[in-house]
Amino acid sequence: MVRYIGRRLIALLPILFGITLVVFMLVHITPGDPARTYLGIHATDESLKALRHAWGLDQPIPLQYLIYLSGLVRGDLGQSLYYGTSVRSLIAGSLVPTLFLLLLSSLLAAFVSVILALIAATKPETLVDHTIRAIPTVGLAMPTFWVGTILILIFGVHFGILPVGGYGTDIKSHLESLILPSVAIAVAIVPVLVRSLRAALLEALNMDYVAFARAKGLRPSSVLIRYALRNASIPAVNILGVTIGFLVGQTLVIENVFALPGLGRLMIQAIFKRDFPVVQGIALVFAILTMIVFLLTDVACDLLDTRAA
């Protein structure tokens, strides 16, 4: 297993290289002059030129890329144009809230989905089942930023029981601030998960091994969980993995709605300020995060599916 993970990590290196290229190109194709943004519209041509030179923007693009790459190899993501500090320290400061948000929202989504799917699968084609399948679909139709705003209005403004935004200063306030954003994200992915998990459960419940388990006189709950759910969770974990990959992008939106000081918020600010080293750095981190999630998904599936090991 360790060797397998090692092999997978090595296989990621060329992909990572490709990602740096794409990210670099995107940032440099996008119109907008960082020097102009930094110095303002009244800056003289001289000062603009000097600043571009200082940032290395007057070099040919391929050379800039090589310089960027050689920095990366040394673990140097460059300097932020706006904050003046290293991109690495900026990212390090914003990584934790984002990771926390990802973790919390996927746990919440997985938990809710498992419960709903179990209920739906034990009573297939009944009113309960149809309701469970229909209501989350509404969630799918609502954009995450809108759900987030509604949640803020209800729980933050109207009832005032949860913070309307920010991240707080201690663990308790961190958790409180993450509840609404996690719910907003869960609303977006629970529908997908419930549907796939329910379908997989119904399929598993039709298998011979479930009939055999029932023939042994096992309790319905243990047939459902130890026989059906364990087998059904393999396809569902795959889908969860893909969805979390997609969530990494969702943090951009949700962190801004809830003013969470995470990578997504930092990224948006950097984009507005044409702070391209930060944008590049965060895009790279997002790409790595996504790949790690996919890798973990595969590992989890292998652990669940004993036949693949």
């Binding site: 029932r214 042994k216 006189g217 096992l218 087998n231």
Partner: protein, 335 residues
């Protein structure tokens, strides 16, 4: 056999319908049988004749879209229709155990086989891990599984078909049920393994006095483990009686055909011909005897309507207008 005590299992006019896009179709049609403690009873018939559904009905495990429309299933004098679901579940595994046809698909692929063998047991009383392990290993070695200590931790896919089938029989035997239902447990295995498993089953049943209801499409297999057999066709019982008698002098042309279709027959007796044609599909059953379209002896009376069951001497019975022998007289002529 004691006939005063309530039989272990009594099936009375069991009828099962399969719901299809074209409405309900009869899959099991008025099957009755009685099984006393210690009996070994076989149900023999071609694929699609309703054998598996009959067994599943006994366990209360009919698949979705398949319903029991009439008939009674009585366990030790108690009609299962009067049991609560909890009571019914308590019977499954403890009083009646079932071994399924396909050892590849009937074990949970993501669970080690050791715990699967004893989980019927642990569902009933609490056992420490050590006790569970000891019991599972004991059952496995009784089942002739080599190296049970190591195999306890194996996943099903790591074992051969024969070992898996032994694992399944071990888990069925875990609670020492009085009656074991076997649904073609050797069909998916090759001939030598099949023979080993059959011997094992016969031996275990003899040792522990377990009753057996054994379903197979193979008369030879049934004769190896069963004292008496029921021949089934198109959802109906065609003939029943002690194995030796049925073999020596089949009463129903279908049984005769089955004997003819067997690979090895004592030569020099009759010239036996394999059955022509194919078994009827669900819902294509004729009004009269389901076998009439393929029967070389069929006459007009066979197609007119439902054929009645006739009890014969020596514990035999047949559902045929003109049973093959006149040497055995009907107990009472119902027509």
């Amino acid at each position: 056999m004691t006939t005063h005590k309530a039989p272990l299992l009594e099936i009375d006019a069991l009828t099962i319908d399969v719901m299809t896009a074209h409405g309900p179709r009869r899959a099991v049609d008025g099957v009755s049988l009685v099984l006393h403690g210690g009996d070994t009873l076989g149900i023999v018939g071609e694929s699609g004749s309703g054998k598996s559904l009959t067994l599943r009905a006994i366990m209360g495990l009919l698949p979705k879209g398949v319903i029991q429309t009439s008939g009674r299933i009585v366990l030790r004098g108690v009609d299962v229709a009067t049991m609560t679901r909890r009571q019914r579940r308590a019977v499954c595994g403890k009083d009646i155990a079932m071994v399924f046809q396909d050892p590849m698909s009937s074990l949970n692929p993501v669970m080690r086989v050791g715990p699967q063998i004893v989980d019927g047991l642990t569902a009933r009383r609490h056992l420490s891990y050590r006790d569970r392990r000891t019991r599972a290993i004991e059952l496995m070695s009784r089942m002739g599984i080599p190296d049970p200590d190591r195999r306890f931790h194996a996943f099903p896919h790591q074992l051969s078909g024969g070992i898996r089938q032994r694992v399944m029989i071990a888990s069925a035997m875990a609670c020492e049920a009085a009656l074991m239902l076997c649904d073609e447990p050797t069909t998916a295995l090759d001939v030598t393994i099949q023979d080993q498993i059959l011997r094992l089953l016969a031996e275990l049943c003899e040792q522990s006095g377990t009753s057996l209801l054994y379903v197979t499409h193979d008369l030879a297999v049934a004769s190896q483990v069963c004292a008496s057999i029921n021949v089934m066709y198109g959802g109906q019982l065609m003939e029943s009686g002690p194995v030796a008698d049925v073999f020596r002098s089949p009463l129903h042309p279908y049984t005769l055909g089955l004997l003819g279709a067997m690979p090895r027959v004592e030569h020099g007796k009759r010239r036996l011909v394999p059955i022509g044609g194919a078994a009827p599909a669900l819902g294509e059953l004729p009004a009269g005897c389901p076998f009439a379209p393929r029967c070389i002896l069929a006459e007009e009376a066979c197609e007119r309507g439902r054929i009645d069951w006739r009890d014969m001497t020596d514990g035999r019975g047949v559902r045929c207008v003109r049973p093959l022998t006149d040497a055995i007289a009907p107990v009472e002529d119902q027509r």
